[in-house]
Structures are given as C-alpha cells and as structure tokens.
Symmetry: C2
Subunit: 465 residues, 2 copies
C-alpha cells in the first residue's frame, strides 16, 4: 500500500462521524422523482450534490433538463500521471416512501440503529439506494482531496435525478454533452455485495420496460343492484386478462416473450453453482419458501437470467373503508418487465398490448400509458479496470470479489454503452435485505465505511493502470 | 276523491318551493355512513330528521346505537277509524361521493338543473337514494298534518343511517324495540318507477352479501429487480384467482353458487316479455352494448332473477403517479354477491372462501373481512294494501303501476319479514338513470312532486282498508 493511500484511509477513519452526518443531510431531502409534489426537493438535492462536489475540489454545476436536474462535476488528476479518466455515476432521486405506516421511524429522518444481524445500520429512504452508495465514492474523493490536494486519476461525476422514474432526460442529456461526459469508462455504485463480508462486481444487469393499462367498461360508475350481472365490470375484465399472464408453470404468456432469450450456458450455470446460493434463506427472509418463477429454472436463474412480467400496482372501484356496491367505469394496472440480453423492450411492450387487446371484450376499451424501456447489458470482465477494482476490493475485504449477475436494471449502464461507447465497472455495497424500495430501507454502517475505503483503494489502483 | 284529499293535494302544490328547500337542507348534510370521517354528519342528519318529524306532529327522537343513530317517530291516526297502523322506513345515509372530479357540481350542494331528457332535476348525493325518496313520504305527511291536523292512518317512522354500509345495528335495534316497531305492515320508499311516466310497486328484491379478501405474499414490499421472478406477487395471485371467478359463458364458478337458485317460471318470463324491456337502451345509456352475465339469460333476467358475483374494488402495490418497481406484500379485493330467493348468504360467502383457498399457492395467505348478508325476498301482491297502493298510484299517474323485480337489495325488507313478521309495500319514484351511487346523482323534480302526491293518496286509500 502506498503511503498516500495509507494517509487517505487514516483520514477516512478520523472523519467517520462527520461523514455520516453528510449522508444524513442528503437523506433528509425527500427527492422522490416519480411524484411531481417533490420537484422542489429534487432541485434541492441536486444543489446539495453540486455544492458538495465544489467543497472537495470539483468544478461542479446543476444542469437543468426538461425533467429533474443533472449534476456534473470534473476534477483533474493531480499526480501528473496518465491514468484513465473515469466518469462516476450515481442518482440522488429515491423511490416513494409509501406505505408510510410501515416505517418504524420516518423515512426522511435518517438514524443509526442497532440491527440484530448486521450491527449498526443507517435507516431512511435512500440510505442504500442510492444516496448511501454514491456517497461512498464522494467520501473517498473527499479523503483523497483533503489528504493530497487532488485525486489520483481524473474523475468526472454525473449524478442524475430520474433513475427511479425511467430516466427520460438522460439520453438527450448524454447526446447534448457527449464530449464532456465521454471518458475511458464509467464507475457505477448502485449494486450489491455478495454478502455482508464478501464484495462483488456486477457483470450483467437485466433491462426494464413498463406499461400501464387502463380498462374502461361502462361510461360511468354503476350501482351493482341496478346493473349487476348485465354490465361489464372492468375489474372483472382486468383480473380475467391478467390472471392469464402466467401459465401454470410460471412462464409468461405474452406472445413472443421468450423469442430472443438465450439459455444460460453450462459454464455459467456451473459457476453459479459454486456460489452455493441459499434459495431457502433468500426467500425465507421475506417470508416465502418456494420460487414463484418458471419451474424449469432455479431461483438464482430466475432473478439473474430470466425475464419477468410483474404487476406492480392495480386499482379499480371502491378501495376505502367498508363496502360500496359499485361497478366502476375503469380499472388499471401498472406492469414492469425485467429483460435479459437481446430482448427488445419495444417488442415486449407491443406483445403486452397484443396480449391485452386480443382478450378484451367488444364492449370494453384499453388505453396504454408509458412503454419506454432499456435493454439488458453484460460486460467482459477480463479488462484491466475490472482487475484493478478486484484487487482493491480484495485488499479491503480480505476476500476475492464475486463476479455476479443482477436482477435489477440500471438504464444508465446501457446508455453509457449505446450512447457513449463506454463500458461500466459496477461496484456497490448494498445487501439483498437493505429493503430498498420498501419501508425501513437501511444500509450497513460497515457498507458505508468500507465502501468509501474500497473506492479510495480502487482510485489508487486505477492510477497504476 | 275526498274533499280532504283534495285540500291535501292543493297544500302540496302551494308548498312546492319550501318543500324543495327542505330536501336541499338534508342533502347538504354529507351523511356518508361507510366512512368514519362523516360520523358527525350522520348524527346531524338524524337530528334533522327527528326535528322535521316533530314539526309535523310526530313524537320523534334520535336513538343511539353502537353504529349510526336511528330516528323513530309515531303519529296517531286522527280520524278515529280503525285503519291499519303502518311503519314507514327510509334511510338518511348516503354512499361516498368519490370520484369527486366527475361531479359537474359539488355533491353536497344540491341544485335544480335542466335535464335534456327529464326537464328539471334535483342534483346531489342522496337526491334520489334515499333522501329525495323518503322526503316524498314526509312531505305527504306534512300536507296531511297541516291541512287536517293529523294523518289518515296511524304512522310510525323508522329512518336508519347504515343502509349503505350493511345495516349492522338494525337487527339488534329491531329486536330491542320489537313492540314499538311492529305494525300491520311496512311502507318503504327506496325503489324505482318503471319509467318516468309509469309508477311501479316492487315485489321482489335480490339479497346481498359481501366479502373482502386480502392476499399476503412476501412479508414486506420487495424490489422487483432483486426479487422479480422468484417471489410470489400477491397481485398476480389475486388476479389469477379472481380471473377464474366467471367461466366463458359468464357463470360464477364458486362451488355450490347456483344450488338453490330457482329457474324463472314460464308465466313470469311471459309477464316480463310484455314489458318490452329495451336492453339496448338500458345498456346503451351507460356506454355498453351486450349483456355481460350468463349467456342463457336475458339482461332483465340477469338483473332481476339471477345471482351475481361482482368485484367492487381492487387495490395492491403502487397506484400513484409514475412507476414503482415493487412487488407488494399484500393485495386485496372487495366483492359483493347479489342473491335470489332461497340462496343462503352464509353458504355463498363460505363458497367464496373455498374458491379462494383452494387456488391459493402454499406460500401465500388469505384473510377474509366481513361476510354478513341478507337473503332475497318476494311478496304476495294480492293483499289489500297492495291493491290500495296500486289504486292510488293509478289515480295520480293515470296508469296502472307495473309490479316489478329489482336487482338491488334492501336488507330492511328482509329484516321486517324475518324479525317482525311484517310484509312490506315497496313504492318508489327513482329512475334507472338517477346515477345513484355514481357522480351526478339526480332525482326528477316530477318524481319528488308526484311522489309526495302519490303517498298522500296512498295514505287515504289505506285508511279505507
């Protein structure tokens, strides 16, 4: 280890208390991007990020878009060496916090708590996804800047505010700022560790596309005493159609859904088998026992290498207290589809529309909202940046990192590849049970501390590439 | 026509403006019984009813129950004759007004409006169901009282406040006040005319029972990136099960659902055929074309003589703006079942539970809420009270009333029969397109005026029985 790195790691140790308070500051801003009620909070979060970058030597600014603002910053390498120029990506926006009544403490009042499994954890919406995660990188940069006056490699930073709502402004922003944002490769901190003691580099991400269907039956809400039996009920139509979305073996029945899906290679399966993934424990921690996906595939394959059709929300008719004998005029459902490499989001959404329309009674109509999406991506892990990161992670954690798949989608990674021709290095410190997108989201204090130390080491290793 | 009746009808004509304002007063009180937020409004509505009864010579009071208060009043016949003693029933509670944005004018700000089809109508929640309806009777009593100092027969009045929320307090209240409330028969004003020019007496009412099912899958909301594919999604489970509720011919697939259903007699069908029911127009006015019920039965049979299973509400997952990639922990649906004579509500609810539980994956659980209900009822129409009412209606409207079925449920009618041994005479002045339980509920001003005149005549005819 270099003397410089040693000093940087010491600085991180000394600064732990203030570092946690800085994370708390950004968690306190309720930057929910999908709900327009929080537009001002998103603007505040962007400004907080830009100011933080300026504090630690970046030239940084908030850039307005037609959606939520972007934050961009640049810091020249200080050591005169010709290491790579990297672009770090994170997102300051978070998922909605509902259902609020299931939070033990308020979602936007971060706290340190004792966790029976992990020791001290940071609680709050965004504690893990992605505020805790991107702050590990920012804190590593702060320690390098404060210790040495600069960073070991040239670093640009892009922090967006629409990751949780489909990133509509991202492609035009990358297009308009192509030269400024194109670097040798990207660093992304939005993924997980293998377990609390084992770091990981993620090498495959599922894609994502979405659709919302609104079924209309009668032209107005009806009284079920007067019309019940004779009038088409759009909830009945919707449940009848969506009830057919999966067959008895868990396969999705949308036409052409599996056309472009590759079977996982024998080698890949063998590698995954060595991970001895504990399916019982994975499902058991959320109160389940058996995998609900395609019966021919293991749970790990179901989440890493198989596409899904998921109903994320459904609503229709009277949902307040008590009963109401109504036949509603409309019923709707929100769906997302997780995609694997080579599936085309447009084709999947078109197939879903066909699936609905071909089953719709003559008297009913269907309207479709949204439909954008991003395909899945996979990386070649033999390059020097992957090796540099793997070495740094092993130094910090005392274990080789696992090269793993990921069931989630990070559209930016696909955009970096397709728009800017850049590969991404995905290193993150989240855990499966961080309850991201759920009540009581949390992030291990160890993930936060050792995450920052890991990035400090990775930055040094990258400078030696 | 007696001279007295003539004077009473004249008094009704003179008092029309004040009579409408009295109806507006009670409509302005938002007495939504199913939502505890309106408890105080229900109390206010009850007091308004009691005070109104006192004004017109009744001994009246508000009686507290464990639910919404009841209003009871008594007025002795003034003519010394031994006519029947009748109990009039109405309800001051109303359905929730949502969706509010579909109302042209605020639901609790009643107004007179020009209607292209019917001329002047009264708009507002409860304008028809049941405030406008029960006020026709009260206004008839007012005119009798003000003209003659008393009523032609002894009248008791029971106005409840839980008709729209299952009437949980009704059975214990009838039980506890059996002697006070038992009269020769009941008068109920909560049903419809055949059309705007043709009065009707309703002789058959469908029963009603309800159930709400809550499906739980994972123990908490999950991120569909992390768990999508492997975790049971309760929305998928719910839609899959409820999608199976009806077969392709529209028949309900709950075990034993049709066991006790009688086929409509040839005579009954023949009588209904003479009504030349306009199915196209009935469905067309709500934007539909084809009847959605059992294919072997006409639309009129579907609503008058066949049972139904209707999903009145469904909710699960994220239903706000935008998308949320969540697999929710729970999803739920509210159902009601319309019953025909001899179907047992308990048996139907038990069948529904079996229907759900037999299809439930091992990993999921189902909880059932509610489940009370009331069976259907039918009346013998040859009795003298029916004939007295039919004559009065013919005098007022210049046409014989239609003896018709009704798809709706009025649990009180069943309770009067089973608890107090009383038959009911169901005369009402609503129309199919009054939009009861829907936005823009309305009541023809003609229904209100001629309804009051009809009751004034019925009261006289009853005194001659």
């Amino acid at each position: 280890m270099s003397e410089q790195l040693n000093s940087v790691l010491d600085a991180l140790s000394r600064d732990e208390k203030a570092s946690t308070e800085r994370l708390f500051q950004i968690i306190r801003i309720p930057s929910i991007s999908t709900d327009p009620a929080y537009d001002e909070a998103c603007q505040q979060a962007a400004e907080w990020c830009a100011n933080t970058l300026k504090e630690i030597g970046f030239e940084a600014s908030v850039r307005q878009t037609t959606g939520k603002p972007m934050v961009v910053g640049h810091s020249q390498s200080g050591n005169g060496k010709s290491g790579p120029h990297v672009l770090f990506y994170g997102h300051y926006d978070v998922q909605p916090a509902d259902p609020l009544d299931q939070w033990d403490t308020p979602p936007f009042e971060p706290q340190l708590k004792d966790d029976p499994k992990y020791g001290t954890v940071i609680s709050g919406r965004g504690a893990s996804d992605d505020k805790g995660q991107f702050m590990t990188f920012i804190e590593a940069c702060r320690a390098w800047h404060e210790t040495t006056g600069s960073l070991p490699v040239s670093v640009s930073v892009l922090i967006e505010g629409e990751e949780e709502s489909g990133s509509p402004s991202l492609a035009p922003f990358l297009e308009a700022n192509r030269d400024e944002l194109t670097t040798d490769f990207a660093l992304v901190c939005d993924t997980g560790q293998w377990d609390a003691d084992t770091p990981a580099i993620t090498t495959m991400l599922r894609g994502l596309c979405s659709s919302e269907v609104v079924i209309t039956g009668p032209s107005r809400d009806l009284h079920s005493g007067m019309y019940g039996g004779a009038a088409h009920n759009p909830i009945r139509v919707l449940t009848n159609i969506l009830g057919d979305l999966h067959d008895e073996d868990g396969a999705v029945q949308i036409p052409g859904f599996y056309d472009d899906v590759h079977v996982v290679s024998t080698e890949q399966r063998a590698q995954w088998d060595t991970l001895s993934f504990d399916e019982k424990q994975f499902l058991g921690q959320v109160g389940l026992q058996t995998a609900a996906g395609e019966k021919a595939h293991s749970a790990l394959e179901q989440i890493w290498s198989r596409p899904t059709a998921e109903i994320n929300g459904i609503v229709g008719g009277y949902t307040g207290p008590g009963t109401k004998t109504v036949i509603p005029s409309k019923a709707s459902a929100k769906l997302t589809f997780r995609l694997v490499p080579d599936q085309d989001p447009d084709k999947i959404v078109a197939g879903f529309k066909e699936f609905i329309l071909s089953r719709l009674p003559d008297d009913c109509s269907a309207e479709f909202l949204r439909g954008q999406g991003s395909p899945a991506v996979g990386f070649d892990i033999s390059g020097p940046a992957f090796q540099a990161a793997a070495g740094a992670l092993e130094d910090e954690w005392g274990k080789q990192p696992v090269f793993m798949g990921c069931g989630g989608s990070i559209p930016i990674v696909e955009s970096f590849k397709s728009e800017l021709g850049m590969e991404s290095l995905l290193v993150g410190f989240a855990l499966d049970d961080n309850q991201i997108h759920s009540p009581n989201e949390k992030y291990n204090l160890t993930s936060y501390r050792k995450g920052a130390r890991s990035w400090a080491r990775i930055l040094e290793n990258l400078s030696k590439m």
